[in-house]
Symmetry: C2
Subunit: 172 residues, 2 copies
């Protein structure tokens, strides 16, 4: 829910017809030359996952994906520093600054100068921020259920595990 993303256009629906000649001018598009790519599969799945987030959290709480991710990290990482959050969110420091600015204006987050290092800004959830983050987190546990309805619990766990291994190369 959090790293900086790119833009791989993906189809909403796929034609899964058996392979034919290849030279066609039909009414459906054949994705043969893309289906072997994980990037393509990710892009397609992402369309649905994003829509689920938008409906369950984005619209109701007026939270962007990165804003939601930051609040989630603050739930378990009190007074985390912007530098470390920037790394954890794979977001540049300047872009994190403007994101935090928005949350501060809304009264959800506060910046506190670190005692140990006067350069660092520690981020803390306000009472309102903690309340909103808690409610958003509760909703997040089920928001993807519709998108994952085609998968049994074991498959769902397997998918998360496999993606995690792609996300962390060289598990050693």
């Amino acid at each position: 829910m959090c790293p900086a993303r790119s833009k791989f256009p993906a189809p909403k629906t796929l034609s899964r017809r058996p392979r034919d000649s290849g030279d066609r001018t039909s009414d459906t598009i054949d994705h043969a030359a893309l289906e072997h790519l994980l990037g393509f599969a990710i892009a397609r799945a992402d369309v649905h996952i994003r829509a689920a987030f938008q409906a369950s959290i984005g619209d109701p709480f007026q939270l962007r994906p990165a804003e939601f991710s930051l609040l989630m990290l603050l739930l378990t990482n009190k007074a985390a520093t912007q530098a470390r959050l920037s790394e954890a969110l794979a977001m540049s420091a300047p872009n994190l600054t403007t994101l935090v600015d928005r949350l501060v204006v809304r009264g959800l987050v506060e910046r506190v100068r670190s005692e140990q290092d006067r350069r660092a800004q520690q981020l803390c959830l306000t009472t309102a921020g903690l309340d909103l983050a808690s409610r958003a987190h509760a909703l997040s546990t089920t928001m993807e259920d519709a998108s994952l309805s085609g998968l049994c619990p074991a498959e769902r766990a397997m998918l998360l595990e496999l993606l995690h291994r792609v996300g962390t190369p060289r598990p050693v």
Copy 2:
């Protein structure tokens, strides 16, 4: 490799420490409140997959992800219409227009008015476009190997299959 994407910031690396109290001000960020989300797992994996694309195809061929995806679709869908490509790429018609403009300027693609429907523009690869698309496709078959080195062939196939099922809800 093709649908319009969003922006879920994702961490480059994950801390996987055993759960502790939760209230910490340590040197690593705990992602506990995000790890259950497919959107988060996708965002993380996507960082690596995008980097692989950029290195293997994006930089060498000066192709953006959406441009690459369009060329791949034209390999197996000759004279496809912009309307159908727009749908297949999950890209709005205006945005597809500017994308096609760039490829036309580079001499990779040509627009041909449909005989049956004078409103429609059919896209065709030029000789140069076919050559470039063919070489890009050849490279695409291995570009994700490094990112997927932690998965055996069966796991890789499983990952693609599971993602496909998320990408196409209600397989009936």
